[in-house]
Amino acid sequence: MGEQNPKQRLLNVLHQEVADRPPVVCIGGMMNAAIVDVMNTTGHTLPDAHFDENLMALLAQDVARYTGFENIAVPFCMTVEAELLGSEIDYGSLACEPKISKEAFSSVGNVSFPEFKGLPDTCRANTVIKAVRKLKDKRLDDPVIASITGPFTTAASWIDPITFIKEMRTNGLGAHRVLEHVTEVLVEFASELVRNGADVIALGDPTATGEILGPSHFKNFALPYLNELIDRIHKLGAPVIVHICGDIKPIEKQIMNIRGDAISTDAMVNLKALKEAYPDLTTMGNLSTYLLEFGNPEKITQVTRRLLHDGIDIISPACGLSTSTTLSNINALTGTVKKKSKK
């Protein structure tokens, strides 16, 4: 087989068609790869690039070029969605990611549900959409991945997370109502991203981990909304990657019920075993965030080789990247995967 281009390769894997080798990607958003090393080299920096579609597109391309990840990923944070709903954001700095400084509501009971009239022109969600459009117009060989924060995590960034997590038990109906509204908003955001050229949508839902929610809450409060969002994105023709943080053991049986096209997991998950248990699953991951930051290129190469040997379908960092990770470590990961094709 001739060498495929990165977009073809990733789309083939997501459609369960033949690829010449596993792609190596980083999905952006919660797994932002705009590390300090890259920004200091190119001068396209955060936090400015969170607000300006040109800068966002440039920085996303810088990241792909210097890290070797075979995709372009926007945005560089996971606060766009909660901001859209009215939470207060602290945009962070070059080295520190944006964060929710104050959720819009303290409890499910206090939420006022404004009628959702589409995305306002001035929101950062629109900046991301415009950046995707710009990237699309460049007709790059790399796929454009737009990353979205999942429904549960967005809800727990709109309402105080501790209260929201508790209110699944004490005000289940209210929690569902919040999740329905959030999902509606996310569907709109995702649809615009796809219409404007995103090749793949990645959903990261880190607050909805098996360890935090447990199997029953995951099944009732995370899964249905993830699937609703996935189905609506599929209708527009884009494949969906779903990232699940933490140890998936408590929710392992639910994983097959997620209707995404690939499941990406945290480093402690044995992807080889998961693949053996569920042969139809397209697996993605899972080089430890900590190893990437504190390890050395030799060790990273070794672990990457093991992932390739185990037949993991898409190679990527496990769960996130520290902004102080070095380029030499990331290149050990991406370089090792790319060498596979030359064998």
Partner: protein
């Protein structure tokens, strides 16, 4: 009487384990009506309840939502019982200032640690998340804390913990407080490196660590 007492203590424990705040409050009220010792009811009713809940959490029988609801039940019971605790029992409450260090907003773990410490009878002052090092120091001085408990989940923000220790040293008050650290990227080695007094991997071990630190050598005023 003693039979009734044992039954009520058991009811308190069960109500907490069954995540029933109303039942916990009602039982606590009954304890008071029956003239049973409030401190004993906390010690033999509420505390074992929360201990069971945190064991079930460790065994992944319960998860974070259950732990939070159980904690509310305990708080409800405490609210009823506390005013009736006879003065002399255990002297001054140990005060702990807890928070998540600057740059980091991950606070689920910190909240669990706070809850376990509160249900074990400590007075906990929660300064929240994304808190600059000097805020910890100011707050600890202001409330006359015994312990400063620092949490972070991010490698990129760990250094702020060392700054807290350095600030205490610079003010010449390092000996007034025990400083403990916790959160996924932390370790005993890191705690040693920054000159903290100890590291705890989870909420229960944080409670044990504090007990050990405070009994080993009394905090010098």
């Amino acid at each position: 009487m003693s039979q009734l007492k044992d039954k009520l203590f058991q009811d308190l424990t069960d109500a907490v384990v069954n995540l029933d705040e109303d039942k916990t409050r009602a039982t606590a009220q009954q304890v008071i009506t029956e003239g049973i010792d409030a401190f004993e009811a906390i010690d033999k009713g509420l505390t074992p309840g929360m201990e069971t809940v945190s064991r079930l959490y460790d065994e992944q029988e319960y998860f974070v939502p259950e732990l939070l609801v159980a904690a509310d039940a305990v708080y409800g019971g405490l609210e009823v019982l506390r005013p009736y605790i006879k003065g002399e029992n255990n002297g001054k409450l140990v005060k702990i200032v807890i928070g998540v260090i600057e740059g980091d907003t991950h606070d689920i773990g910190k909240n669990l640690v706070r809850i376990i410490l509160e249900t074990e009878g400590y007075e906990v002052i929660d300064v929240g998340r994304d808190v600059p090092p000097d805020r910890f120091v100011e707050k600890a001085k202001e409330v006359g804390a015994d312990v400063i408990a620092l949490s972070t989940l991010m490698t990129t923000t760990m250094e702020g913990m060392g700054e807290v220790v350095e600030l205490l040293k610079a003010e010449g008050i390092r000996n007034r407080f025990k400083v403990i650290v916790g959160g996924a990227p932390l370790s005993q080695a890191y705690s040693n490196k920054i000159g903290a007094d100890g590291y705890a991997p989870n909420a229960k071990s944080a409670a044990r660590l504090i007990k050990r630190l405070l009994t080993a050598e009394p905090v010098v005023a």
